[in-house]
Symmetry: C2
């Protein structure tokens, strides 16, 4: 059965299941096993298994009453995450450019990605200082201004989980003691910006602030990176306030309820914040 030359490294079950997923979505999301099987020309047993698998993974939802499938919560969540990030990048871009010009330094926009920040946009100043990080690189959460800004605005359980893991020591200044780090995070949650003094890369100081999505979750963060020697703490604080304000403006554009300026998560010693109420 030569048929398709199977040119490449395509895993057939995956490919077909994705076809099923796409079909369900395109079909306006109320689909029976039979129609999937017929429309895509795959035996119903197989279609059944794919629907089952997709449902279990939360990509589809199974309405047992009429035995129909529709798009599931996981897919919706993914869509929202993606569009939030995309919008945040778009909104942030002019801000990043402005920051580069003002401080003559590298500015970063990064997303949170399991235990790390991943740089999406890195804009270098023409003449100024440059850091090692390039778009696509990843760094620990606890050793960067970006990451600390995110950590400080994260729901408590998630932050706690991260902090309970061993923290990599990137430079001699990296904060690896949990109590110390948590103290700083609380302060960041209050002030709305994070300062990092060579904790990730020797000689580089960063000042960053989080951008919150419509649920108040710190999806991305922006920062400036300057030579450690060039900026005093008080200057950094001024910059921090400014950056924090810019980030907050973007958060507001993303729909992060007008009720929360910049103090959602870890503020107040043991304050607990939930991204989504456990209401289900």
């Amino acid at each position: 059965m030569p048929g398709t030359p199977a040119n490449s490294y395509v895993v057939q079950p995956v490919e077909k299941a994705l076809g099923v997923l796409a079909y369900v979505v395109e079909c306006g999301q109320v689909v029976s096993l039979k129609s999937v099987s017929q429309a895509l020309g795959i035996p119903k047993t197989t279609a059944f298994r794919y629907l089952q698998t997709l449902t279990r993974a939360g990509f589809l939802e199974h309405h047992t009453d009429r035995d129909r499938y529709s798009v599931g919560p996981r897919l919706r969540a993914m869509a929202r995450t993606d569009s939030s990030i995309t919008r945040a990048r778009e909104l942030a871009h002019p801000v990043l450019v402005a920051l580069t010009q003002e401080y003559q330094c590298t500015v970063n926009l990064a997303v949170k990605g399991d235990g790390s920040v991943v740089y999406l946009d890195v804009i270098d100043s023409l003449q100024g200082f440059r850091t090692k990080a390039r778009s696509g690189d990843a760094n620990p959460l606890h050793s960067t201004a970006l990451g600390k800004a995110i950590l400080a605005h994260m729901p408590q359980p998630e932050a706690r989980d991260y902090l309970s893991r061993p923290l990599m020591e990137r430079t001699g200044r990296t904060l690896i003691e949990r109590a110390e780090l948590e103290r700083q995070l609380r302060q960041i949650a209050q002030s709305g910006y994070a300062i990092e003094t060579g904790e990730n890369e020797d000689g580089a100081m960063c000042v960053g602030a989080p951008i919150l999505d419509d649920q108040g979750y710190p999806l991305v963060a922006i920062s400036i990176a300057v030579p450690l020697a060039r900026m005093s703490t008080s200057h950094a604080m001024v910059a921090g306030r400014k950056i924090s304000e810019m980030a907050a403006r973007i958060s507001r554009s993303l729909g992060s309820g007008p009720s929360m300026p910049t103090v959602p998560a870890a503020v107040a010693a043991g304050g607990v914040s939930q991204r989504t109420a456990p209401a289900g």
Copy 2:
């Protein structure tokens, strides 16, 4: 290695690949093969194949420069489709209720789904007439007011494709002759509403109109269903104009450019319309 009892009908490659997909999205969409492999604990060969498959299917995008993966156009398209339909349903609901009350009859909201309309919402009047269709059911495009309204506003190539297939004869009145049907579709495209006189179910007359998404594509349609005997053609035309107007208002809320009231597709004998210019 008992581990998971694999209780059920889950296809492992699919499950794992969905995990990879979710990871890429959650990670803020700039991910290397290695991080996927490490984070999910699957050998890199396998991760590679999944990424490859997901990319080929358009669910991911592969940035060859830095060898990173991010969310692909297909996933974005799915997300938009879903959210459009969801919004359309929400916006349409009060309209449906109003129509039920006004006409004392069943009203429908259906989506287009490969060669058929699938009923999403069916609201019955308390006392009045009821049709067979229930939420989740499907009917042919050419035999229902809903379907004809959609067909008439569909991009020409897609409509042509459908019409070139054999058309099922649901009742004695079903239009199965292509020329005749096309003539009617052109008229529907102009007037903005479709009338069906017992062509899908004996004794039931329907009047329907399409709701266009932000691309001008007829994603869903709404209709009322009354006993064939109860409504004259002239009454139906009045109702049609009203329904068409309501549908157009919803289309506008969905962002269907303010430049097109109700006449996008098949209008004017051979007019051609493209959903998306073939530029891609």
